[in-house]
């Protein structure tokens, strides 16, 4: 399926808060999520429930 590029952004920001602040300053509608890590066991279960996704990697950015 071909991709149509966005001309007007409305952003949900999950992670580094600074990115939401930069977008806000640039006049882009943005909603920042107060994200917290899930317990790894719950995250693995959720990933399975949500369609067989597997979680990997163990280092924070």
């Amino acid at each position: 399926m071909s991709t149509v590029l966005l001309e007007s952004l409305r952003v949900v920001n999950v992670g580094l808060e600074g990115f939401a602040q930069d977008l806000q300053e640039a006049g882009v509608p943005v909603l920042h999520v107060d994200w917290r890590p899930l317990d790894p066991k719950i995250a693995t279960l959720l990933a399975r429930l949500e369609g067989g996704t597997k979680i990997g990697g163990d280092q924070p950015k």
Partner: protein, 517 residues
Amino acid sequence: MLRAILRASYYRDSVALMRVAQAVRAQPGVSEAAALMGTPANHEILAGAGLADPSLATAGPADLMLAVEADSAAAADAALAHAACLLDERDRQRDSDGAGRVAPRTLDAALREMPDANLAAISVPGAHAKLEAMRALRHGLHVFLFSDNVPIADELDLKTYAAARGLLCMGPDCGTAYLGGVGLGFANVVPRGRVGCIAASGTGLQAVASHLAAAGEGISHGIGVGGRDLSAEVGGAMTLAALGALTADPRTEAIVLISKPPARQTLRALESAIRGTKKPVVLCCLGARPQADAPGIWVETLEDAALAVLGALRGGAWSPRAFADASATRARLAQVRAQPGKRGAGLLALYSGGTLAYETKLLLEALLGKVRSNLGGEAPGSPHEILDLGDDEFTVGRPHPMLDPEARAERVRAAGAKADVGVLLIDLVLGRGAHSDPAGPLARAIEQARVAARDAGRTLTVVASVVGTERDPQGLTRQVGALEAAGAIVLPANAQAARCAALVLRPDLEAKVLAVA
């Protein structure tokens, strides 16, 4: 005196925590400080820094560890209290957006508040990135995925899912993108224009976009794809989707691709796609050797990518050039060589941008032979060294040099005491997300290094280039001016700076290199 506090079930992102640690380090009597989530990797960092306190031993990934080493118990306690104060203050700001609303805790909750959102910017730790990115894609959102340490199999899953639904999954490990004129991640403030970019490298995209801005041209969209997209495993899933989208995009009149050399089978698919577009396509695949019949316009440097696409758009002739102003460079080199004092035979390059460092390595090795570097390749005994200070080995538990110039400034200062270093080469990357005044601490360090060398009867030349625009928060002219005032030679492109630095040491190559100008 070591003091520590564990805050259970308390999360802050890594950049926010680095800022807290920095502020605590600046408190009176404090020699070291850390603010880290209790992941296994962070426990190791804490132990490595001598800050592992028994009270933190039980901290898990959802718990915050604060630790301070100070010259007295009172100083350590005061510093910890300061850290707690900074965190609490931010909590008060975060828990309310001013209208009494509490920030959503999940992507799903956020989408109930903003049901017409069309893009998710995701920068959570790599272990959690796929879950969040897949959720966003399932909701029909495009994804800008800054997170790194995402397994390549997960990347392939995400990109395959996205491509089948006409969505972009930009990343993982995507530092920069532009959509609809808006910069995402580390982005320079550039005008909207006719050039569509596809980039496997954030700083590569920043450099090309900034060169275009300097020439009065802008970009239509800049699609980041992450550093592994053109690997055999991922097969160019997003590069091909982006090429299709830019080909169909009415604003885009020419396309630039920035990457390392694609895997053989991926290159075949890419070439076939390029043959299918009528728009000019410039390929800057650093280090690639294209076949004679390869489609597209192949260039060797980021600056040439911008010049080539400008040539294609404006119908003018284009050919690679070594320097924008050859006679000025020749005069500056003569001036530098006339300086009194003995010069070390080595070149030391200290970089913050990984792709800029890689471009420099390719150019320097063509002129000076093998160079020691953390970018790979064996060159024992070479007097020259290139360090990508943004690499994991320098940034675990420490801020990236684009966020905080202090650690690099310290290395610049130290270079002044090294008798074998005759030339120091640095990059500077401006834009949103980057430090507010990276040239400030570096300029002071350059001055000190040059004075230290001079006092020891030596001469040290500093060569630099700056990726940025006048509209960036830091201001290009202001940053260049600060470096020049400290005695650095500032060239308008990284490739030019690398060539100039090599010519300081090798006058015998000057005629050959300048012949390309």
